[in-house]
Symmetry: C2
Subunit: 178 residues, 2 copies
């Protein structure tokens, strides 16, 4: 199985931090790839790759010129498209069946400012993380955290250069001696 | 009980969208108040108040000049300070005891760029949502969603001006006739 995230309609100035945080969220909650469309942004890619190098694991960032073709290909190969939108059906109705799909390739799609209508049509599931306005980062993290029942976020990477030493007060990190 | 969020060190240009999304996330996942320190930002407050007015419920946004005094007062009155930081102890170790604290006033604190050391000392709990770098929005949403076992995000507000009509494909919303 593959668990990947696609962020639609990145805008180079306005969305730099949002998209970077989305990618880091994807990585921290168990996805192995992050795709994005909209503006091509070398700066965002570099930030994400820097984090992945320092904190370990395999994480792939890729720009897509034509996300609709990519989504169609993904489906043609038997993969599943999950589009997160406040207009969809609430997660709690889906989560069990989604956990049973983890042997398939899952692509989790999050908007952008104005998600085109065909995304709602192409998606196998339009899933709402509640029906209130909040944040694509919140939607993605809550979705992925629920998908793994809170397990993915606890994963350690043996090839990390630094590790946090969990502590009750203060900040402690150590170089990974492995 | 009160459930509130404090965002430290807001910067007026760089953090406008992050802080707005944090506040909307606080609201959508069950908090009733959002406090922030750093730069005073009327634009952010207006965005949040506009959303709260349209989507209903009571949600209070307030700027704090001296967050440390505010935190000390909160504790003095018997409230609990939960600081979200990747350096803390993982959420899974805390979550049950935190759900048992819901009769108290909980203040969930999230950083900013450089959280001063005294926050780690003042907090009753320094809680990590995993130990990987991701996003304060992800941390807040996963924390609050876990706290309510996924219930808070499903709440509807009877005084909302519009409501989403959950649908399998597409976007449907209706004016609240109540």
């Amino acid at each position: 199985m593959v668990l990947a995230v696609l962020r639609l309609l990145h805008r180079i100035i306005r969305d730099k931090r949002m998209t970077t945080h989305l990618a880091l969220t994807a990585r921290a909650f168990g996805a192995s790839s992050f795709f994005y469309s909209g503006d091509h942004d070398g700066g965002v890619e570099e930030s994400i790759n820097d984090v992945a190098l320092e904190w370990g694991g395999v994480f792939n960032v890729e720009y897509l010129e034509k996300p609709s073709n990519f989504i169609k290909e993904w489906k043609k190969k038997g993969g599943i498209i999950i589009h997160l939108t406040m207009y969809g059906i609430e997660l709690s109705n889906f989560i069990e069946s989604m956990r049973n799909m983890l042997d398939k390739d899952l692509l989790v799609v999050v908007g952008g400012a104005k998600v085109p209508g065909f995304i709602y049509q192409l998606a196998n599931y339009n899933v709402a993380i509640g029906h209130q306005p909040h944040s694509e980062i919140a939607a993605l993290s809550v979705f992925l955290d629920n998908l793994s029942k809170g397990e993915a976020r606890k994963k350690k990477h043996s090839d990390a250069k630094i590790n946090i030493v969990p502590t009750e007060r203060g900040k402690q990190a150590e170089a990974n001696r492995k």
